[in-house]
Subunit: 110 residues, 2 copies
């Protein structure tokens, strides 16, 4: 009866995933960017993203060789309200504003 909600809340019940959401609230990001910012391995990041996706909180799109994740626009209302107030750490915001994946990974610029 409450399965979907429980799954959503479980997805939110982890500080790493909350940080990922805070990052995505600054801007969309690809997996390799999140890997740069988080203190865990690439597979761990991938697994967190999968949970967030299964919970309907993020979705993905491809651009060049990268898979970008973004907050889902159709996220349940109250969660969306909450996420909107989630403040990313200042240094994370700075990083996201001053880096772009092209520079990070192979080419330059977006």
């Amino acid at each position: 009866m409450y399965d979907d909600w429980a799954e959503r809340f479980r997805a939110l019940g982890d500080t790493t995933r909350l940080r990922i959401l805070s990052l995505l609230s600054v801007r969309d990001a690809c997996v390799c960017e999140l890997v740069e910012l988080l203190p865990i391995s690439q597979p761990a990041v991938s697994q967190h993203l999968r949970k967030l996706k299964q919970a309907g909180l993020v979705d993905e799109y491809r651009q060049k060789s990268w898979t970008f994740y973004r907050l889902r626009a159709d996220m349940p209302l109250h969660i969306a309200d909450w996420v909107r107030e989630l403040k990313a750490d200042e240094s994370d915001v700075l990083w996201l504003q001053t880096h772009h994946v092209g520079a990070l990974c192979t080419n330059r610029d977006t």
Copy 2:
């Protein structure tokens, strides 16, 4: 950084606890009433209530020999909004409306 929120969401990330919240949104209830309504043992109910309490979502008060639990009035805003929309199962509502703990525990009412 997001520890408190993660704990709250983890507390919400279980269907049994969501059902407990839905019950408490109908009216305050004591542990023995929740035990009647839920398909799990009394210790399990007690442990769920402890998690909800630690997460700041419910609190307790004593009345006669019973410990009643109620939704915390100062629950975080967005969660309170969400809980307000949580609909208890109709048969649960009926049970809560037609029973009271005095009848339950000392007499043997319907």
